[in-house]
Amino acid sequence: MNFLERVHLDKPFFYGLLALALLSVVILYSASAGEVTLVLAQALRLVIGFAIMLMVAQISPESLARWSPHIYVAGLVLLLVVLVMGATGKGAQRWLNLGVLNFQPSEIMKIGLPMVLAYYFSRRPLPPRLSGIAVAAVLVLIPTLLIARQPDLGTALLVMTSGLVVLFLAGMAWHSIALLLGLLAASIPLVWVYLHDYQKQRILTLFSPESDPLGSGYHIIQSMIAVGSGGLYGKGWFNSTQTQLQYLPESSTDFVFAVFAEEFGLIGIFIIFAAYLFVVLRGLAIAFYAQDSYARLLAGSLTLTFFVYFFVNIGMVTGILPVVGVPLPIISYGGSSLVTLMAAFGILMSIQTHRKIIHA
């Protein structure tokens, strides 16, 4: 056994993620207008993220499966705590102040929910029966509603999606899927009533950003200008006028893709898409080769959730989805979500590298 096999590192995955990490550093250097401290902070986070990924990769899928219910329950408790006494950041209660660092319990749920669902379904025959689906629905709804109450609609929807993906992969019958989608569609008017005004505004803005170009439409208009003016070849590194002249808000975080698109154009986008698609397909392959249903469901869900982040972020930046505050995974500047993400990749690596080799 060589070293790589002993440290449980999946090489294709590792290189794909490394490419994204490098792109992150390059684009953040420009998006922050050459702010070295910001780039160093991101580089440090990436290093920590990779370290966490490797650490998690060493844990065997069996141990992860055993811990799944505990992680889920711990996540729920923390969500309740944050609702009761969470520090208020940006008008929403999402953060727990742990003295040294602020911590967002909803991040745990991004992994905790797929884990508990995979755990639950792996112990039952598949496809799941209606009772199993009902239990799963409850497991999904509790954290979703708690996160939505913070209010953090974007994360709530993403957490819910990661749970629904498990249900889909577990083989939920098509008629049940149709029923579920119908229920979701029917609940939209109900949810609408409970939405905050700014949330409604964001969704309405999607349909006509020009109606309030300096208010709620400002983000999306400036972002589309940045992307569109990049053209085929882009304006070149550090030549993004939208960013350098500070027209584009949140250019280092949620809207970093707009900076990339403006500076590197469609050609650059092909590169970044290739990297993401490579990572996603590798994740799906890991799920395909996984040896038990817990590993399969978890690997599939984590990979697809990663893709959903990617899709929602770029959909938002290009004006086809509402501005929900989802960062571009790995590339966007930011701490809490990067750690979760890398932990998820660690799980995928663990699943891939702990396979029992069956010799023919």
Binding site: I225, A226, V227, S229, T241, Y247, L266, F273, S293, G300
Partner: protein, 630 residues
């Protein structure tokens, strides 16, 4: 039996693999959708967004032009621009507006109106444009702002040019003033021409020649960031200053006229009969236009509005008065032009006139009459009975036609806005009001009473027609336009307004002789101003009733309240042989035209005709209490 269902591993794997393949297809389709969107934005709509991006970066800043100055015929400045400090705020750069306003209130004087106006602007305005909080900061205030500037984020001290009227209220009704653009005006103008300008000409020459005075806004294209901070200038198109306007007005003559009217309500209009140029345009009382420039406070405005002397009214073009006997020379001309009229024919005036089959007596101003009078002596002595007789003979239709031909009853077309047309009554006019024309109305029209109304400007204009023996020009404020850069002057060409062609040239001399007699004749009603005049004046007095005097009443000026006393009028031109000035004077409730109005005309004519060098005559000064505030 244990109810633990058995797992079918093979079936589960197959199910999972099929679901995984479906998700893989979905992933690829969604990725393609994103790429399609990106192709749409970056390739198909590239030009659109590239343009928007460029516009984002390069922001055009308006540079307001310098408004043209207004000067009198001798170059005396009537309206100019003075640098003043204004306190401006860019709201985007302010974190806490209320706190900032409070801080500023400690440094400079801010009253409730300033803050109210500011907040009004705040609600609708272009992004990143600075808003004026206060203007005309004094030196101490400006210094206090400058010292504390580092702590006042978003606050700027700007030196801007502001309209100033150095002579205060002098000729205010002619010059007008500029004021802030109000909402109604804002919808009627080309907003782009007024970028960076907050003022617009409201009245008088300022309003009428707004297009010439305004100038062309310049543009400085600057690269800015989204915070509105200027990074560097890319391109600059200099503004074009507005044209300087030279008026026909003679400021010194104007000052003399206003001083002569001081304390009275009235109007003096003097025209150059050879061009129609307005030499004097006086309407009293006057008011100071300077407070209007930045919005007069409501209390001061209320005082002006409620002043019983109505200073805001422009009496020259909006005051409509019965002309009284001042109409007689024009009717005399009409009579001379009517077929079969003999000016030498006499009537006997016994102090009253009666229509056939009527008991109503139309009295002469002279109780026992003027005796035997012909046309010339009737004008000289202002014999009412002669003109009653004449009016009946000419008939209202003829008088209406003739007076209308002289420009009465219609706007003169002076280059000012809002002129009143006056009124020459006719049968038709009465019919339109559902009334019949009474013969008595024809009679009183003969002495300029009844519904007949003229403005002082119309009178002066008609006088200049007599002075010129037929030809007259449209009254003009503007004399020349000067390009501020090249100093090139364009003179305004006089515009012929009308030409009365008489049947016999001798009619003019008959008429002018009768008007000379008014001033220089033995029995002339205005002989008091004529006996020592070094030049010949042709004139006519007028005294019009404000209060109707009953059939058997006697009018007694001493017993009548001031507001109900007669209006005094005087019209004249001089020198009679080769007139250089035509004038109309009206003094509201002034009493007799001969005593109240004629001396004012004499003063103005003396100054205009006798001072060879206009600069040697009395200097123009404005009354101290009219000095601008601030």
């Amino acid at each position: 039996m244990l109810n633990i269902p058995l797992k079918d591993h093979f079936r589960e794997t197959r199910l999972f693999d099929s679901r995984l393949s479906i998700t893989a297809v979905i992933v690829l389709l969604l990725t393609l959708a994103l790429l399609a969107r990106l192709v749409y934005l970056q390739v198909i709509s590239y030009r659109h967004y590239a343009t928007l991006s460029q516009e984002n970066r390069i922001r055009p800043w308006p540079i307001p032009p310098v408004r043209g100055r207004i000067l009198d015929r001798n170059g005396i400045v009537l309206a100019e621009n003075l640098p003043v400090y204004t306190l401006e705020i860019t709201p985007e750069q302010v974190e806490d507006m209320d706190e900032l306003l409070q801080r500023l209130g400690e440094l400079v004087q801010l009253d409730a109106t300033d803050i109210r106006n500011f907040k009004k602007q705040l609600r609708k305005r272009p992004r990143f444009e600075s808003l004026v909080l206060r203007t005309r900061l004094n030196d101490q205030e400006a210094a206090r702002i400058a010292v504390n500037r580092s702590q006042l984020h978003g606050v700027e001290l700007q030196a801007r040019l502001q309209r100033y009227y150095p002579l205060g209220g002098l000729a205010v009704h002619a010059i007008g003033y500029v004021g802030r653009i109000d909402e109604q005006e804002s919808s009627g103008i080309d907003r782009s021409a007024y970028r960076g300008t907050q003022h617009i000409g409201k009245l008088g020459v300022e309003g009428r020649y707004e297009g010439l005075l305004l100038g062309q806004v310049g543009v400085e294209k600057v690269e800015t960031n989204a915070l509105g901070r200027t990074l560097r200038a890319v391109e600059r198109i200099a503004p074009k200053a507005g044209q300087n306007l030279y008026l026909s007005l003679d400021a010194k003559l104007q000052a003399t006229a206003e001083a002569a009217l001081e304390g009275r309500r009235g109007a003096v209009v003097a025209l150059d009969p050879k061009t129609g140029g307005v030499l004097v345009f006086a309407s009293t009382p006057v008011y100071d236009p300077n407070p209007f420039v930045n919005g007069i406070d409501s209390e001061s405005y209320r005082i002006l509005l409620e002043d019983p002397d109505k200073p805001l009214i422009n009496r020259v073009i909006n005051g409509q008065y019965a002309p009284g006997s001042a109409i007689k020379p024009f009717l005399a001309l009409g009579a001379l032009e009517s077929p079969g009229f003999d000016p030498a024919e006499t009537i006997i005036c016994r102090g009253a006139f009666k229509l056939p089959r009527s008991r109503r007596r139309f009295r002469d101003w002279k109780k026992y009459g003027h005796g035997e009078v012909d046309l010339q002596s009737a004008v000289e002595q202002s014999c009412d009975v002669y003109f009653y007789t004449l009016a009946v003979r000419l008939g209202i239709d003829y008088m209406h036609e003739f007076l209308t031909g002289l420009g009465f009853g219609a706007r003169t077309g002076i280059d000012l806005i809002g002129e009143s047309p006056g009124l020459v009554p006719s049968r038709q006019w009465k019919r339109a009001r559902g009334e019949a024309w009474y013969p008595g109305e024809t009679v009183v029209t003969g002495i300029g009473q009844g519904p007949l109304l003229v403005t002082p400007l119309q009178l002066a204009s008609a006088v200049s027609a007599l002075a010129n023996r037929g030809r007259w020009f449209t009254p003009r404020m503007l004399r020349a336009i000067e390009d501020p850069k090249t100093k090139a002057r364009r003179e305004v060409v006089p515009e012929l307004a009308g030409n009365i062609v008489v049947a016999e040239q001798g009619h003019w001399e008959t008429l002018v002789a009768s008007m000379i007699d008014v001033v220089h004749g033995e029995k002339g009603t205005a002989r008091r101003i004529g006996w020592n005049a070094p030049y010949t004046i042709a004139g006519k007095t007028g005294t019009t009733q404000v209060k109707g005097v009953g059939q058997n009443e006697v009018y007694d000026a001493e017993q009548t309240p001031e507001r109900l006393r007669d209006h005094a009028l005087f019209i004249a031109f001089a020198p009679a042989e080769d007139p250089r000035i035509a004038i109309a004077v009206i003094v509201e409730n002034g009493g007799h035209g001969s005593s109240a109005a004629a001396p004012i005309a004499r003063k103005v004519m003396d100054q205009y005709l006798l001072s060879g060098d206009p600069d040697k005559s009395r200097t123009v000064s404005k009354p101290d209490h009219r000095s601008p505030s601030g």
